[in-house]
Amino acid sequence: MASVFEAIGGAAAVDAAVDIFYRKVLGDPLISKFFDSVDMDRQTAKQKAFLTMAFGGPNHYTGQDMRNAHKHMKLTDVHFNAVAGHLQSTLAELNVPQQHIDTIMGIAASTHDDVLNV
């Protein structure tokens, strides 16, 4: 069975989504400060890593990596839901079929405990 990553277009889907998603995140005062570092190229690369993972694409991140990457930010459900919301509306904007959106939101939800270090 093809993964949702392949079904929605693989790396090209990530490229199409990254600017839209990053624009939403930067424009959201609740979370923009986390993404507003001087090195925007690096940020774009991280957004791509995030999307690839959420789309179920090839990645090498373990749950422990997710914990380490996020622990210094002291995130709560408010932050998590904001990011998830922007992910969902990005997918809707790109006309990704609802069944794939559901799968992707499921993958994102499965990282909840690691991202929030609970």
Partner: protein, 330 residues
């Protein structure tokens, strides 16, 4: 544990190689501490630096184990040494020193080997090392590929080590070492040549932009090329005659200067360079426009975010933030 030259130094949790060496009073050059300027290069000994610490380095440097000490946070024992300056840099001599206004010096350096800068795209930067060993990054303002003669525009900085040396002690014939080139802020001809180019710089941020504009024109760029130069006052603008002449001879190129204070004239207005650039952008097809932003790091960072939020694609934004030396008590 961090091995360096003959010594061994304990690394604190999460500490960078650079911070650890500085904490132990080791003589490592550095400047921006942000993974940009490449002043803090070290060479790995029997270990592999992580990808983050080699990002943006030339392939030859990467394959020879070079890495930026400020971006390397080891999680096990590593050993590094200072890179071999000789192998890393190109030697040149100062052949031109000319003040462009009260606060900007034009420095021209001729590489001893005229082919040595053949790979330097106009707008990239070189790291200059003076006889005192001070290393700073400066953008190349001309096309130095053919003759190895590089032009720089350097701003006077209060209590600045390199700029103070340049304005007060440097003279024609002095030796300078040049490392590089580095940076990705330059004109690429294989992209869409119809794209509008919007170039915005403050202060000596004009240096790379001047090189990029000339390169784009030389390579036959088809779309409009709009240059905005911001400065605190008319006295700190420079190259106005050159830019006016360029605009007069190329209908697709236009130049405007923005000053915070001072008299306005035909191509110089009082106002904010970022606001003026955003007004120009509003009249362009944003999704196709390529944007170049150079100069003061805070200015570049802010405007980068603003143009991105207005719809410019991240792949179409090229930046050269002049990140200053990080503060450190030594």
């Amino acid at each position: 544990m961090l091995g360096f030259q003959a010594g061994h130094y304990p690394l604190a949790d999460g500490e960078s190689v650079l911070d650890c060496l500085l904490r132990h009073q080791q003589p490592v050059p550095y400047s921006c501490k942000a993974g940009l300027c490449q002043s803090c290069l070290v060479q790995a000994v029997d270990c592999q630096p992580p990808a983050l610490a080699t990002r943006g380095l030339k392939a030859t440097l990467q394959s020879s184990g070079h890495a930026m000490a400020c971006q390397w946070h080891p999680d096990s024992d590593v050993c590094v040494r200072l890179p071999d300056n000789q192998a890393l840099s190109v030697q040149g001599h100062i052949v031109g020193l000319q003040q462009l206004n009260a606060v900007v010096m034009k420095l021209v350096v001729q590489a001893d080997d005229p082919t040595a800068l053949a790979e330097c795209h106009p707008g990239q930067y070189l790291n200059l090392v003076n006889s005192a060993g001070t290393i700073r990054s400066y953008s190349v303002a001309n096309d130095c590929r053919q003759h190895g003669r590089a032009e720089f525009h350097i701003a006077a900085t209060a209590q600045g080590l390199f700029s103070h040396w340049l304005f007060n002690a440097a003279s024609l014939g002095d030796v300078l070492q040049m490392r590089g080139p580095a940076g990705s802020c330059f004109y690429v001809a294989d992209a869409d040549q119809q794209q509008p180019l919007l170039l915005v710089g403050v202060g000596t941020g004009l240096a790379p932009l001047y090189a990029i504009v000339n390169d784009a024109l030389a390579q036959g760029h088809q779309g409009p090329i709009l240059l905005v130069h911001g400065a605190s006052s008319t006295a700190s603008l420079y190259y106005r005659a050159e830019l006016r002449a360029l605009a007069a001879s190329h209908s697709k190129f236009s130049y405007s200067a923005l000053v915070r204070a001072g008299a306005a004239d035909a191509d110089c207005q009082q106002g904010d360079a970022a606001e003026s650039a955003l007004a120009l952008l509003a009249a362009l097809p944003v999704a196709q426009t390529r944007v170049y932003l150079c100069g003061n790091a805070a200015f570049v960072h802010n405007l980068r975010k603003l143009v991105f939020m207005r719809g410019v694609r991240s792949a179409n934004i090229f930046c050269d933030p002049f990140v200053e030396r990080a503060t450190q008590s030594n």
